[in-house]
Symmetry: C2
Subunit: 155 residues, 2 copies
């Protein structure tokens, strides 16, 4: 093999645990941009392991691929990202993470007020006005509404 000519998609798949097909899909979504060797095969930077790991972590936390693409825009295009580059993008990332944790903590602290008391009257509830769009998967519910029914008698 030619020295330092990049790594194959299979190598990245082995190192990250991702399926080869998933990595190709991420390329199609603009999350990673390999070049091609003479034979037309994809070649990646070895450092793209980090990039893929970042994608996997962000997904676990609940971010969509377009959102993650946004995070990764902050990385330099032409060269291997440095520790400083990663530190920079992890900052904005951390803010989102903080928000997400706070939302869940509020929900937990209000759990009795929301659910345990049986009223589920959600103006009290942390999720009444969910700001945390990262938590939404797909075409999920739009918003939550309270239950302050007029008479509230059993049917």
């Amino acid at each position: 093999m030619a020295a330092s000519s990049g790594v194959s998609i299979g190598y990245l798949a082995d190192r990250t645990g991702l399926a080869v097909s998933a990595i190709r899909y991420y390329e199609a979504q603009g999350l990673i941009t390999p070049w091609r060797n003479n034979g037309g095969q994809r070649r990646f930077f070895r450092a793209d392991i980090r990039r893929l790991s970042f994608i996997m972590i962000a997904q676990q936390i609940g971010f969509s691929l377009p959102e993650i693409r946004g995070f990764l825009k902050a990385l330099p295009g032409g060269r291997t990202p440095t520790p400083e580059d990663w530190a920079k993008i992890s900052e904005g990332f951390r803010d989102h993470l903080d928000q997400r944790i706070e939302t869940l903590q509020q929900l937990r602290s209000n759990l009795d007020g929301c659910i345990g008391c049986g009223c589920l009257s959600l103006p009290k509830c942390a999720l009444y006005n969910p700001k945390d769009r990262a938590a939404q998967n797909g075409q999920g519910p739009r918003y939550l509404m309270g239950d302050h029914a007029e008479t509230e008698n059993n049917p």
Copy 2:
């Protein structure tokens, strides 16, 4: 309207913010079981607003509909759930929530170790062995692997 004969699907939709079609879908998935009036239209308990709100909250946190169906099994079938009923099911729910918060907090505290340092070597990372299956949407990534490449020179 006949007194105390239940509420319509449209009423529930208005009160919860869910689409009518979503409520019908939840019925198909066994999350809610209305009865029918003489004309064949669905009738719900007024208290089903709570049930639907619970579904929406649990979804926000990341539970799938089958999982939520499991939570709701703990509710009584024949009568309107009491505050105590809700308190009971919110307990198991809270455990899941606690776990989820802890996972995210560990990730945050390790964020510099995982991402900020640029090594992304995930044995240190809270998400290296993700136990939090509720966080996984769809056929997501299977596991995370570190980046301790042999030579680690730029390509």
